[in-house]
Symmetry: C2
Subunit: 434 residues, 2 copies
């Protein structure tokens, strides 16, 4: 007799025709002449993606709705319409000249999972709603004082009233509110109104997403279970100040060399990372910008100033807190020894989001049942799942292997890996019935 | 009875009126409206300085001549006009908005020493020629394919025929040859002609110069004896190439981080310097320019490229040779460990100039006789003395304490320190008679 997992896997395999077709049409219709795809938040590409996905949902006989902010909800009714529903979602916008899978894969996975359940004639006790989220790539599309993730924050009642005017599309100079109206939506239907999603009516939120980093590729795994979305602590405009001097005539011990001092700080943070990593804790760090002053520096002058940035990320709040102590203390020590001064400025703090332990345990159980090797891993980038957690909804994420990084047109995911991730998603949604 | 040293010191003290007056007029007449003094090589300020010094020399009844390149020779005849002469010299040009003492102090010291000898009625066995050298600050004034130190190299027959056309004044765009003619000199009187100075007719060359670094200031000494003029080995356009990646999603161990690798190289060169210094060898190093790529870098992206410069300087050729081995070997080691690539390019090599041992020994003897505490020290900057050494003339240098670095208007030398240095110079010139 066919097992539950075999039935489900056959259903997902059968629904892959749908996946391939939607991915293909989406890539073709939102192709950027400069390469990759462009689906601007509250712009042409995103609008088209929403139309396309809604049409696919209707062909699956799902209930299709949208909220005043333009988020799309595609629901397979369960036996008990009043039971808290499973939500499956991700965003349908993209960065300019980005990849076809970042965001869209999570929405299409939801539809494929539903189609698999329909094909397998598995009837569920509760609704499953696939959500196409608006405006997640706000870092690329909106400047001004806004809190990011505009679509999910509208849906969950997390957006502030002023963000509709303050968020400005970088390419048009017009506000979020204006762009929403242009797309047929209604800022005033969101602003000050109860949120479209009542968190108490959601049993859990799942988001399948391509991994933004190289871990799964490196480990030879199709899927990963996300433990947390890393928070960050950042120094945007740190400086080391020494003194400019004759590079030939100033003895080493009388120098106030900002480059040597900064190099030492970088090496010390690297050493600290080794300790943290050896202790099994989560941390990555990036000195992404580093420069002597091009207006003053020269080959033969002792460098009197270096400016740099530091981005610390961790899924563990206490690791970030520890590093916020370590870096200034170490900088002080180096400054005293090398007769320079560090002006680090204050660390910005964005706390990590820890995903739901039970749902993560369930996903591991699913991987085991389906014979899918997997690992726990932190997410480096932000995701709509954060906002569901913030609103009190248990949330979990499935990462799918991606060969060439995200936010680039070279982003790459095989249909086999997507199918594996979607099997896991479908298993999780159907497990009430297993 | 008055000792030789007392007589000499009284003579120098008496001649300091001349020093103060020439320094003052020179500073006033060549003041730059933007601060400091500007005496362009083969330009207005240098011309004026030469006229002023020649006039002072005539007032001392010296023989005043100039060569076809415009170098100035002011000679106190000795008893035997055919004996090889002492030369005392330095340059009379300055960097733009520079200090009044860099260069000029050495020429004025020569005149003051001669005046002191005249006042002390010390008659010498050989000529003493004070030389006002042209165009030493060529790094500031001339671009194009030239060998620097244009004045001394013309006088000593070291200049190439093509340099008169190739050296281009950076502020006017006109050639060295044109500027020489404009000042009343004759490139064709230099090009291909026997040099004005016959090295066999020079017993030795002395150059008094402000120290460009802070060593004497730091050690509380008025004068230093220069052992060598540091050579250098330079990497002008070195790069470290890694890979740009997502700064949140790429685990540390999978990164190809050009910043961390370069920081490690800098720290390793610093560690090597400690070894070299502890062994009593001469070395300074400067990573003067360091930068991630501003067109690509960002706070949250793993830095895939760093460009940097390295200037190694030493008075010892073998130390430079050793460092030219060490740096690429260490870079290779780091590159292998961190999965990056260093493109260092080839080291430029400018060999150190070792000054004359006997003359240095004599200067130390003079310091002892005059009760002047001193130290041996390397010169970080280049000087006309190098060219005399290259032409086969024994040369030595006296450094005078300078509080605020050279090539800046803040350059500072007290008249007391200048007097001490000039006493030492006069002692050295007169010691044939002591």
């Amino acid at each position: 007799m066919e097992s539950f997992e075999q039935k489900l896997s056959a259903g997902v395999a059968g629904a892959m025709v749908l996946a391939r077709s939607v991915f293909e049409v989406l890539a073709r219709d939102t192709a950027d002449p400069g390469g990759g795809v462009t689906r601007a938040s509250y712009g042409e590409g995103e609008q088209h993606a929403h139309r396309l996905l809604a049409q696919a949902a209707r062909e699956l006989d799902l209930e299709v709705k949208s909220d005043a902010g333009g988020n799309l909800y595609m629901t397979l009714p369960g036996r008990d319409r009043t039971a808290p529903a499973w939500f499956v979602g991700s965003h349908l916008d993209s960065v300019p000249k980005g990849g076809n899978y970042d965001g869209a894969a999570g929405v299409i996975a939801g539809l494929v999972a539903i189609s698999a359940l329909q094909r397998s004639a598995i009837k569920l006790p509760r609704d499953i709603t696939v959500m196409g989220v608006r405006a997640e790539e706000t870092g690329s599309w909106f400047s001004g004082a806004h809190g990011g993730h505009l679509g999910s924050r509208m849906a969950l009642g997390l957006i502030r009233a002023d963000e509709f005017d303050n968020a400005i599309r970088v390419d048009t100079g017009r506000s979020l509110g204006e762009h929403m109206k242009e797309c047929g939506f209604d800022p005033d239907g969101v602003r000050g109104k109860p949120p479209y999603i009542d968190p108490r009516r959601v049993k859990g939120y799942f988001e399948l997403h391509i991994e933004q980093g190289p871990v799964l590729e490196h480990r030879g795994l199709a899927v990963g279970v996300v433990t947390s979305i890393r928070g960050n602590s950042r120094l945007r405009n740190a400086r080391c100040l020494g003194a400019y001097n004759h590079g030939g005539a100033t003895p080493q011990e009388l120098r106030q060399d900002a480059v040597i001092a900064t190099a030492q700080l970088i090496s010390e943070v690297d050493r600290k990372w080794s300790e943290v990593d050896a202790a099994g804790r989560d941390l990555v760090f990036t000195f992404g910008k580093l420069s002597t002053d091009p207006k003053v520096h020269s080959l033969s002058k002792v460098p009197g100033e270096v400016s740099f940035s530091l981005d610390l990320r961790s899924g563990e709040p206490e690791v970030l807190a520890m590093m916020r102590e370590f870096v200034p203390a170490k900088a002080d020590e180096i400054a005293a020894g090398r007769n320079v001064r560090f002006e680090l400025g204050a660390f910005s703090v964005s706390e990590p989001t820890v995903l739901d332990k039970e749902l993560r345990r369930d996903l591991h159980a699913g991987c085991k049942a389906l014979g899918l090797p997997t690992i726990d891993m932190a997410s480096g980038g932000g995701h709509d799942a954060q906002d569901f957690v913030k609103a009190g909804v248990p949330a979990a994420m499935i990462f799918v292997r991606n060969a060439h990084g995200s936010h680039v047109k070279e982003e790459s995911m095989t249909m086999e890996d997507f199918e594996a991730g979607t099997r896991l998603l479908a298993w999780q949604l159907a497990r009430d019935e297993s």
